[in-house]
Assembly symmetry: C3
Homo-oligomer: 268 residues x 3
């Protein structure tokens, strides 16, 4: 079936539903609810916790750690470092979402320090966020961008080369750089950019798939494909971004092998 | 009509809609929006506030205080203690949700201190959270569990005996221990476990009902029955956890006496 | 077309969709997600950020600053002052939502200090919140009120006179005081009061419109009309406040000139 489901995404979905891995999130206030719901809908088990006092103990229970700096502040950053340190010790995957990197020096600096200290397994962002990690001085306007330029892919390659982190650049086409081959996923729908936090949702799905798929580049590609496919299914029924958001969760929950085989659009 | 609506839940719903009691919540970031919406949908008036500087004044306006430790941190815990102290002085009900108790020592310790200091009117949690309050060393995996073992009911009885708090264990069957009789509510739908924060929603509904029903065990049973009934109504139309969440709020808003009479499944 | 769209609201909607102005929000935890989604649905670009370290840099990117004190605390208040100071220097509009002013002395004091220090371009609240700003000692019960009394309009006039801020009092009829004329908007639907944070959504829409419409009184009236119209469209299909919330976002996203012309109900 490699022809039809080249990423073995369906096997991974089944594995998530069976094992219900605990995904520990230190994330932003805007998307906590929707991230938790996406993890539940695909079959995982979310926990949101940020108190420094319980970071070591919570990470000890988790199958994967997801860090998202969307509404960062001093105290939370301390917990991000502490959680990442314990995750690294335990050898569980660390997924980082550098929300708004490049928008302010505080964000850029924090994220670069996090990256240097934790060497995340996977980093998922939009093109300008990834370029900001690389010091390419791309200007970020808030948290949105759908353009993936060759420069951004170059930045991803360079980050992968120096850090060993799988780099995912989200956009109309998602690029996943994690070795020789680059996965390009063409699933998704433009209306998804009008729902807040779907980028952050993609990140937590990377976490859920990384908990069951040992190869992090493949796990990321699986997550981005499933994300885009669920978005397409939702967009067929949605009349706007309000209903899209809910139909998206329904689609994750109801996802079938047939959905994946019929819809996946990948190049590598 | 005691046959048909043995808890007089309908009278309580009407009373909430009429009086619109102010429910003061100190709760976690994940569920703030959905908790406020559930309180509004059933007819109450929610307020979310946590600044230590206004705890005394806000509690003074409230009909009930709901404390939920889901995303606990040092500063917020201080406010929880302060709010509970003022609620106790005023004699309004205190409802506690020990989210994730047992998952980390920080959570378990915090919740035990809160319980000892505030002697909540009602405590609602899942089986492992309730057992963690009791020192039975049950292991919590994140924030989910639907199994209610005889041990958990024993823990609830023991907590009720020592604290006088009504204890509600949520699960496929909800157990409410608050005196000689144990209420068992069999309403609800399995898909509800795939929506984040419906446990926390149950807790705020306990708060809304406790604001109008003087007997806290009865108030808790009313809340759990209404919760489960609204979930069943929603699940009949929902195609997944996304739409379930919204239809659930619609069902709370539209709830009729007939819904309760036709659907309530209680043993005591 | 002045007869039909007396506020030129349609031109403003088109302008928002074209320019996608960055709306910087320092707002409460309850409504962060829904506020961001409303800004995206109307065509703007939301950012939620509150760390003091990045206030100056984030405000420098924004077209408008929205401050909402819903879940205020010491650290966040510092950031509100700092952001407002930088917004004033840059000359971008500042929109303030005094959530719960009058409910506790801490809130009332904080909001009065914010108003005095920042002289917001627009202040939007319900009648009791606006009266609390004015020192009229109106009692606020939580965060709800739909009654707009002559006293409240008097308070708004007095605030406008002393501060120069456009004052919007939301209710069944919205009053916008910003000069000689008072705009009264009669759009909206009663079910909207059963969804948390729609007042806060109105405030962020004031922000989005103020980013493209130079006259702040007109911008506020445009926002309140669009808000009410989208709510009416949503209420025609919704079966309760759950679905209303989503259909509202869909309606913002799909809004047409015809919707505005056919539905706007304004007196001035």
């Amino acid at each position: 079936m490699a022809e039809q489901d080249p990423l073995n995404a369906w096997a991974a979905v089944q594995e998530i539903r069976k094992r219900s891995p605990l995904v520990h999130n230190i994330t932003n206030y805007v998307v906590m609810n929707t991230s938790a719901n996406a993890i539940l809908a695909i079959g995982g088990s979310p926990v949101m916790a940020h108190a420094e006092e319980e970071m070591a103990d919570m990470v000890a229970l988790a199958s994967v750690l997801v860090i998202n700096i969307g509404t960062l502040s001093r105290e939370w950053i301390k917990s991000m470092f502490k959680a990442a340190e314990h995750a690294a010790k335990r050898g569980i995957p660390i997924v980082l979402d550098p929300v708004g990197a490049g928008a302010t020096p505080y964000r850029t600096r924090t994220v670069r320090e996090l990256v240097a200290a934790t060497r995340p397994t996977i980093i998922r962002g939009n093109a300008s966020e990834i370029m900001a990690l690389c010091g390419d001085g791309a200007k970020t306007k808030g948290v949105e961008s759908t353009v993936v330029s060759p420069d951004a892919v170059g930045a991803a390659r360079s980050l992968y080369g120096s850090l060993g982190s799988v780099i995912c650049i989200s956009g109309a086409t998602d690029y996943i750089v994690g070795g020789e081959e680059v996965f390009r996923i063409n699933n998704g729908h433009p209306m998804m950019t009008r729902v807040t936090g779907l980028g952050c949702t993609a990140t937590v799905l990377c976490g859920a798939f990384a908990a069951v798929t040992p190869d992090p580049a493949r796990a990321t590609a699986q997550a981005m494909a499933v994300m885009g496919i669920a978005g397409e299914i939702a967009a067929e029924r949605a009349e706007g971004p309000g209903t899209l958001q809910l139909y998206f969760l329904d689609a994750l929950y109801r996802l079938t092998e047939d959905d994946i085989i019929r819809r996946i659009r990948m190049e590598s």
